[in-house]
């Protein structure tokens, strides 16, 4: 009995101590679509940051609004090579969820 109580209290404290209390950060990515995996609901895009080309994978949920020319678009519209602006929430570039995706004309 004592062992179970000890384990339960310990587990509760550990979960409390290790759960991050920080809110997610909002990131904006301006780049091009590498691949939209509709089955995995994951968008891979590339962009340039500090003169380096980077690639990130961003989760795209059913609730993520996708827009093109001010009209609603779908995940299947995210074709490779298209220019996109993605606002995504996450702690870092490894854990991103898209909040909003806009298909835009290429930068001039």
């Amino acid at each position: 009995m004592f062992g179970r109580t000890f384990a339960a209290v310990t587990l509760t404290c550990l979960i409390g101590a290790t759960t991050p209390t920080r809110a997610h950060d909002m990131f904006r990515f301006v780049g091009t679509v590498v691949k939209m995996d509709v089955a995995k609901k994951s968008l891979r895009m590339k962009f340039v940051e500090n003169k380096k080309e980077l690639v990130v994978d961003i989760a795209v949920t059913e609730r993520t609004p996708i827009e093109r020319d001010g009209k609603k678009a779908s995940r299947s519209d995210l074709k490779p090579g298209l220019n996109v602006v993605v606002d995504a929430l996450g702690d870092d570039y490894e854990s991103l969820v898209a909040e909003k995706i806009k298909i835009v004309p290429p930068p001039r």
Partner: protein
């Protein structure tokens, strides 16, 4: 002994429970100091974060921000004397220029005490989505208050801070061509921070007015 007595577990004494709670709390505090603080907040009191490779590297600019953004006592708080306000330190002047890449945004904010004033003017090379807003010291992003929101290419005006906190501009480039924004201001602020869309922050140095700079040309 009844069957109920055989199945009932031994009761735990208050002392045992207290020991278990204290041990669990001690364990949690150790984990907090060893792993969570270094990984999540870049605070490494036991140097274990660096040793274990957990230390979150915060940009220098962000580290500087907390010092720069911290209100410096009552130095820039207004003291009301009828229609005028007095401050115990001179105002700051600032001039900044930003280049907004295609579809990028930037925020530029000053730390102001409640009631502290500033004047400003900014101009962009093309219309930008603009939101002049304030964020109270307490309450976080959810407590932000929009003061003036529009798509335009210039604005000028003044502000008496409605609350203590960061006050300034959000500018977003809505198009595919880079836009340059130039802004000047003067006021009783004590920090200027630039927030970029790639989530980096840069503290800007502020200047004090000098007779040579502020005197009108003759």
């Amino acid at each position: 002994m009844t069957s109920a007595d055989r199945t009932r577990p031994d009761p735990v004494s208050a002392t045992q429970l207290a020991i278990a709670t204290a041990a669990a709390l001690a364990g949690a505090v150790i984990i907090l100091a060893v792993a969570v603080l270094p990984a999540e907040y870049g605070i490494d009191p036991l140097r274990t974060g660096a040793a274990l490779g957990l230390l979150r590297s915060l940009p220098t600019e962000v580290a500087n921000e907390s010092a720069a953004a911290a209100p410096s006592g009552t130095a820039l708080k207004p003291e009301q004397h009828g229609a005028s306000s007095k401050y115990s330190a001179p105002y700051h002047v600032d001039r900044a220029q930003f280049v907004l890449g295609p579809y990028q945004y930037i925020e530029y904010k000053y730390q102001l005490a409640q009631g502290a004033t500033m004047v400003f003017a900014w101009e962009a090379s093309a219309p930008v989505i603009h939101d002049f807003h304030g964020a109270p010291e307490e309450g976080g992003a959810d407590a932000e208050v929009s003061i003036d929101k529009a798509t335009r290419s210039r604005a000028s005006g003044s502000l008496a801070a409605p609350f203590a906190g960061m006050h300034g501009w959000y500018w977003e480039n809505p198009g595919g061509t880079s836009i340059t924004i130039t802004m000047t201001s003067a006021g009783f602020y004590n920090a200027a921070i630039e927030y970029r869309s790639n989530h980096t922050r840069h503290v800007h140095e502020l200047a004090r007015p000098t007779a040579g700079v502020d005197a009108p040309e003759r």
